[in-house]
Symmetry: C2
Subunit: 197 residues, 2 copies
């Protein structure tokens, strides 16, 4: 079951089944095609394209959410570092016109085979360029009224990328798992996010 009965939109796309954390002003979603395990996105609930469009309350809520979510994914995905990045505007590589922070858990030498630590950025850029296309295709598949189970795994293979887009069911399972992991952190941290020891 999705975390919320609200319809959560990322740009014009409905991403409700991908949501694993919700605050009053922000949401966090798992990815259709994570670049590395635990690659997630955090966005304001209000659909605005630019960071400068956010109110003070939205900025504060967004980055406290980024902090809580990054702490969780670093723990759960056994990482040692994180890339946190916002492509703020088209000329910085943004494809979905809705503010979003990428959070990507990193491990030592996790991208040695791909060219080293900084390989993540080229990957992120192409993934972000893809994101709009991927979500459009997913939406089109859903609108064809194919039952969810039959639809699963039937996303068209339109690019030569080896990462497969995941089914709604698969993303929802991960979202439910991460919701539980967020709750574990909340239990061991104070309301201000600092560890209670």
């Amino acid at each position: 079951m999705p975390l919320t009965k609200d319809v959560i939109k990322f740009g014009t796309f409905v991403v409700t089944s991908q949501v694993f954390h919700l605050t009053r002003l922000s949401f966090a979603i798992v990815n259709l095609k994570p670049l590395l395990p635990g690659h997630v996105l955090v966005s304001p609930r209000r659909t605005v394209p630019r960071f400068n469009d956010l109110s003070t309350a939205e900025v504060q809520d967004l980055f406290l959410t980024v902090q809580r979510v990054s702490r969780m994914v670093e723990r759960v995905f056994d990482a040692s570092s994180l890339n946190i990045a916002i492509q703020d505007g088209v000329d910085a590589g943004q494809s979905v016109p809705h503010v979003h922070a990428h959070i990507i858990p990193r491990q030592k030498e996790d991208l040695e085979a791909q060219g080293g630590t900084d390989a993540i950025y080229g990957m992120m850029e192409s993934e972000d360029a893809d994101l709009n296309k991927q979500l459009r295709e997913k939406e089109r598949a859903a609108q064809s009224h194919v039952p969810q189970d039959e639809n699963k795994g039937h996303f068209p293979a339109v690019d030569n990328d080896s990462r497969k887009p995941r089914s709604d069911e698969e993303m929802q399972k991960e979202a439910e798992w991460l919701t539980k992991e967020m709750a574990k952190d909340a239990a061991s941290h104070g309301e201000d996010g600092r560890t209670l020891s």
Copy 2:
């Protein structure tokens, strides 16, 4: 004259002359070797390596500062977009163990000759790897008690990078200019950062 009589440290490095904006918990500095015009850094005043080390108040102050600074550099450097990125930990490419957000103003097709929009990331990565080395060299030059004027432009050419490290004087001039530009924005915006119209 520097903005403050406080000694501002970025990691173990004294960067007081590079500071153009100070809040109770954060500071913003111009770069020794900006990747693109207006490439600046925003950090918490407390020297801690990881984003998760920040208190709620520090996170809030840091990103409201990032928002105010990005608005200013986008305007002043005539940009249309921004890259905002944090390398949070060694395995994500962090070289100076002090939380810092890169803010890089972007213009349409500004890096076409370098390979396109995403070329910034490889540049950022190598620059960040350099940052520690650059600041160490700068510090060493300062400790040799060469007068600032003679010292200017005498940084050893240790890498094959065409970007030249800038002198303290040059950075301080830019910092003073940006301080004034921040003040202009403050005059036209409310305390909560939203435009008063």
